[in-house]
Symmetry: C2
Subunit: 235 residues, 2 copies
């Protein structure tokens, strides 16, 4: 029997149990498709046939459509009336738009950081280490994943649920663009050291300088990605 005084215990277990079985079929289907899209298994532009997926996933059309709705609102699928759902093809305007919002959120989060408990930077250290490790192995997709996690953990420092969600949507959509890049090395490699530099500034408590560095960082990243996209235009 646990100590009744330890209020946190029940909460923890309750949350675990809930997150276990507390997902509907549609959400599980969405989770499955989400991975496929983000990993780039489904190239941008492909149509997701209801008939076909119903057959493969063994769910009803209605359930599948609910999953589509979920992903559509995350920006991971686009829905064209009477034509079906497609993996979106991000154009240059989308990229610029994405980075615009990204700079707004990430830089502002960093700029407002104060009295930061070093313990909270722990996940960032882990991400940087994971990124460096993956780069050493030449596993560029893994570098990309570590980078995404780094930035997700970065905005998490704000401690705001809605900022986390907004950033999550943003980064997921961005991965769509990243997965379309032919040569990931040139794109991903600089991230390793820049993330580390950013983290160092945070550790030193230099919030303002970190925000400025992040601003430049994101501008450079945007330019690189735009150039990479321009090289292989699908249209």
């Amino acid at each position: 029997m646990p100590d009744p005084a330890d209020a946190g215990w029940l909460r923890t277990v309750a949350d675990e149990v809930r997150s276990f079985d507390r997902s509907s079929t549609a959400e599980r289907v969405a989770e499955l498709l989400r991975h496929r899209v983000i990993e780039g298994d489904l190239p941008p532009g492909t149509r997701l046939s209801e008939e076909q997926l119903v057959e493969v996933l063994r769910v009803s059309r209605n359930t599948l459509r609910e999953a589509f709705r979920l992903l559509t609102h995350e920006g991971l699928l686009v829905h064209r009336l009477h034509r079906g759902v497609f993996v979106p093809e991000l154009d240059e305007d989308d990229l610029v738009d994405l980075y615009r919002l990204r700079r707004t959120i990430e830089c502002d989060v960093v700029r407002r950081l104060e009295r930061l408990d070093p313990v909270r930077l722990r996940p960032l250290h882990d991400d940087v280490a994971a990124g460096a490790d993956a780069a050493r192995r030449g596993d560029w997709p893994a570098v990309g994943t570590a980078n995404m996690r780094f930035h997700q953990h970065l905005v998490a420092l704000a401690g705001s649920r809605r900022i986390d969600e907004t950033a999550a949507r943003l980064l997921a959509e961005l991965r769509l663009a990243f997965s379309a890049v032919a040569e990931p090395r040139r794109l991903y490699e600089p991230y390793v050291s820049r993330n580390r530099g950013l983290l160092d500034l945070l550790v030193a408590g230099e919030g303002e300088r970190a925000a400025k560095e992040l601003e430049d960082y994101l501008h450079d990243s945007e330019a690189e990605l735009l150039a990479a996209i321009r090289d292989r235009p699908g249209s």
Copy 2:
């Protein structure tokens, strides 16, 4: 050219228009419910019965559920598995979180404004005028509406689709809190002059000062709203 006297002609056009606006039935249902929720017709905490709404709206359960999904993603409804959808009850933490993101977006948008074409401020002038007019009439809900439009138009100056969408979700969710306030006058009245002051700074091209003013503005608004919510706690 069809005969104008033919009664069937109008119907055909009506149908065309309906399908031309490319809105599905679910979206129209969502639009209807959205208004009900935002106007406060449905008090926070009420459950939206599928059975009941299917009866009233004359749509199928599946279509209704798609509308629910739409509104859930906007934060205007919450969905609890096997229990149904509810009008959310925002607590103080939610308000703080909402204002946190709001400051991030609105202030950053204002701070980054440059070389602003005065023509683009036109909608803001209209909103300020509408707010002042409504205040003169004592129509506080209208003041609230004008205020929301003002801030929506404010972030629109950034010219970013995704920022617009994020702000729209944010403001819609905030209206939920506003609609629960008993005495709207004390809350809404200051907005009229502050919005005007903010606009004046923008006209003068004082982006940095405008951002600072907006920051204070939002802090005050948050404090007022928190106080108002504390006065009538449902829990």
